[in-house]
Symmetry: D2
Subunit: 352 residues, 4 copies
């Protein structure tokens, strides 16, 4: 096995994604420490309950329902199914994760994703209101999928951030029309750790109807924590999770991980490492005259490269391919994470 | 956290289920050892490929497709959806896991579970053929759900085993009618380790069209390995898994676990501990004059108890409640596992 | 075309089913009379509104929502989907139409049909309460499909009738647990016209949450009228119908038919012809010493015949095959309808 | 009833849609003539078989499978479900009927509608090939919905026509990639009757894998004839139709209608009336200086009007509202049909 691992790409500094390693060592330590303790299944264990309490505290939402699921696509599919009536669809930026890269999971659940053109990966309260209004005014609206909820991501799929003001506007529009607002926090740690960010966990809990705190891309082996600030909002949610095959038998494994992530501020500290190292890379890129495809303050950097330069770099470091611009140029993604070391950043900067 | 764990039920010897602990220590060791290595996602990593090769070898099925999913309900839902056409249903014993305890996951996927009365938790080739024949002969068959595949479990939900002869008969009936045979191996380790068992992994690979080797209940943190002996049987299966939200981002975590389970015969050894300790308990029960609700040779014991006695015992050991027989008697389940210690068995026997 | 029609089975007296002809002539007359009038689509026309008003009056339910759909399977699928949450199933007699002869339409919509053993084609309030109670008391109920609504038929699939007392008991059990009660009235005309029947349309409207008045099998070209006595019970039902492809573009065609059926008591008169002719046949059968497979007072007669006799009879009249009892005997169905003539009954009786 | 009909909008010349009347009188005559003949159900009757043969002959497709369904949304949903694997989506112009006005019926069936920007309501072979190629080249294609079939309409939703050359190109691209091509012919009569049209029924049967010949909007009470030129292409299609609640019990009613439509060239003659009257209106509009929102040669005219003028006109004739352009202008739809009389056209022209 180790032989396999020393050949291939693993030896190169890796910036292809933020889920290339196992878990933060503290998580593994806790899993080992608790390993032979016995507990009941399906998230009814004391570890999971402890994790829920820590998350409630961090969100300043003492009455919140909290559930642990295995991954992001699954979480999006289960939450969206649970919130929508059959004839409703979900509003999303056209760059939203549910639009393109989930293999049709939302449609499998019977729902249309109604896309809005993004601006910097985001949508606005005005856009949402306009779609709702157009639907409502259309004489044929009963023949047209009703916009039944709103999906946003923080940070977005392009690494940008909603400001508190933007989030408050969106929330206000949603509340006015009794439309649930759902926030995908797959990389939430990397938003929370940003100096530019002014949206806290309590803000999210106050302004959203459902959201999830990502574990898979933020230091856990796997796992996302779904938070429903107003308890009881989704009747039968436990059964819905089970029915979707999304209920972990050994729920404790997720519970222990989130309990660890929300102990001693680990979730924030994990995020800070990613942001600090991303900022080092961003500075170096600017200094060396590289252009970014677009600006964003989180752990993903989208850099414009000559395709030749991209190929050359890729021999020594692992980058993520994003898209080709034209015959000569492409956008590559450089992702940092809780696991990014300064040594790897040094090597990357040297190579630039 | 430790405080939480020392109070409550965790201190009692636990026989309520076979997934009360974390994972076999060797799995945790391997997770720790490989933790900071980088790898690609979604099961494309070298750890997962190594695990696939070990499973192919153990099944004597060098061309098999192997996929890792997170849990049993999910696996059943994804495989059954992938195998059936929309107007087909799945044949199962009425005790089958997909009938009762999966919250309607198969129906959510659009399919009827066509139940057959079980005998010792099993169904027979004759029953399958009879249903197929009745459907075929019915003038209105196009108005009736077509039996499109067969679902069995080894061991069954009541702990019994299909013999090789039984499995061969079922397989022959299925092959004759081009009906896929799917075997749920959630507790397969406990079947394979049974002296009474005469069905090997290569037999299963030879006789079934799809099956899964259970990890969650057999020593892993989570995870089931779906094996499709004839590669390419299910076009697009990777996308189907993704679309169902069942694709693990860090596929390596499942890969490392199965690589470990199939190294140095660990999967068999895990099973043997469960069977050995279950046999000790069965002997003690017989000696002390208890009646079993039914006989079976695997890791679950179903014992008939006075409800009073059951309540008394439950103060000192954790048992699984199965069902009430009448006002006085009930069936309790005693489950052993890879983690069951002889000390706990000793304490249980003393208490009987 | 006429040649085709004079050869083949059409010349024989036909008792195979109650939908072998077109429509009651009065319906055709009204369709012709209104043919060139213009109206808006999708049931928003004045004909449909007039029909709704007549149905509301006949049901003594002035606030009822009424919708017209094309057929029975479609109606059952749409109503059941609209009433259930994803993790709920529908309770039905094992003889219920949704169990066997709808090709899995309910499961396609994501729901399990939870079957109860029938007695004379019916289920009881006690059975319903027992299943609800068992579900509620089961510790694992969140892993088990919740009984979310009750499906019954009047008359049942075996031609029997619920008495008012039985229906009131069922309704009471359902109301107590806030479980919608849905009645399938595919052949409702034939129940309402029975002297033995003591359940009126206003009773049904008072005791059920949703029901449908069958047109296809009771004199219309096609069409079923869904009645929701408490208006607004199902938000978005129009869109749900459309989304299921069950919305008729020229809704007027259904509207005109139901307007006709509920004018001058036609629906009752249609039923009476079927019951009167069925009673003539039943008397003749008894006189001639035939045994009925079971008794029922509606338009379907289930007679026990030697298979030889059945084959002989079938050369001269069209009967419906129901099932084989053993190598020698079978059950044949004799169905009368609004269209059954006394001449055909005479010929059948002669042949017996 | 007649009172209701003489008040309200019915008295005005009606150009709001092409399904405002009942059926062509010849259809009603045939329904009346055959009304009391007995026949078997579900499309197994001789009327339906005769209609199938006429359609096979008209399409020069002697081996075609032909099925009759009740309406367009239903037909689209059933055919698309039957053709796609779960992880595939359907390519359509963004103006396609399945995109906007079917209340999410395709998504309810589990599939994404992948939209392409239309040009004159149409898509091109080049666009289709480009999407297929982009999907195929994307490293992450297994995470992205696969374009699994192509949906087009003839005439399109904006009344335009595919030329034979365009259709041949699209068909060639589809065949090369083994992608089924499906043509929605809701208004096919109005395409076939156009002098500008060079695509015949045999062309469509030769170039498409599935298509439907519309009845509802072309002179029938209801009904669409699905044609599958290569028989056996969709195994189990009868059961799929039944399972979707789309199987007509009295299939003969659809059969008789299509038998009539394809006797003595009625389907073509119906179309010609619509085109002739539409052309009269188009000429008058041009003469009087009105601008069309876009050109098309079929039975729908999209005219640009001052909103004031539109309101004024609507007092005397029924027009269809299409969309507002700005504060002053809107697009109104004028639809002719088999039922449009020259008197109504005269009155409309006078009012312009």
């Amino acid at each position: 096995m180790n032989d396999l691992m020393t050949s291939g790409s693993a030896e190169k500094p890796g910036f292809a994604s933020d889920y290339m390693e196992g878990a933060h060592p503290e998580i593994l330590r806790r899993l080992a420490e608790t390993n032979m303790m016995k507990s009941s299944g399906y998230g009814t264990d004391a570890f999971s309950e402890a994790a829920r309490d820590r998350i409630r505290a961090a969100c300043d939402a003492p009455g919140a329902d909290v559930y642990f699921l295995a991954g992001g696509t699954q979480t999006n599919a289960v939450v969206i199914s649970a919130l929508l009536r059959s004839y409703q669809g979900v509003l999303s930026a056209d760059t939203g994760h549910i639009c393109g890269h989930e293999a049709g999971a939302i449609e499998l659940g019977g729902h249309k994703v109604i896309t809005l053109p993004n601006r910097d990966g985001k949508i606005t309260a005005e856009q949402i209101a306009a779609v709702q209004y157009a639907w409502w005014r259309d004489e044929n609206r009963e023949h047209i999928v009703m916009p039944g909820m709103v999906y946003i991501s923080q940070p977005t799929e392009t690494g940008t951030l909603y400001s508190l003001e933007e989030l408050e506007s969106i929330s206000a529009v949603c509340r006015e029309s009794d439309t649930p607002l759902y926030l995908d926090g797959a990389r939430l740690a990397y938003a929370l750790a940003c100096p530019e960010n002014d949206v806290t966990l309590p803000d999210i809990a106050r302004l959203c109807d459902v959201f999830y705190i990502g574990g898979t891309k933020c230091g856990a082996l796997f796992g996302e924590a779904v938070v429903i600030p107003r308890f009881g909002l989704i009747p039968g949610f436990f059964s819905i999770i089970k029915q979707h095959g999304a209920l972990l038998a050994k729920g404790r494994i997720a519970g222990i991980q989130f309990d660890t992530l929300f102990t001693d501020d680990l979730y924030r500290r994990l995020g800070e490492n990613a942001i600090r190292t991303a900022d080092r890379i961003r500075s170096a890129l600017r200094e060396k005259g590289y252009a970014l495809a677009w600006e964003n303050p989180t752990n993903q950097i989208f850099v414009l490269l000559d395709r030749e330069k991209a190929a050359e770099l890729s021999e020594y470091v692992e980058l993520g391919f994003w898209e080709n611009i034209d015959a000569e140029r492409c956008v590559m993604r450089i992702a940092t994470s809780w696991a990014t070391s300064d040594e790897d950043v040094d090597r990357l900067i040297e190579l630039l």
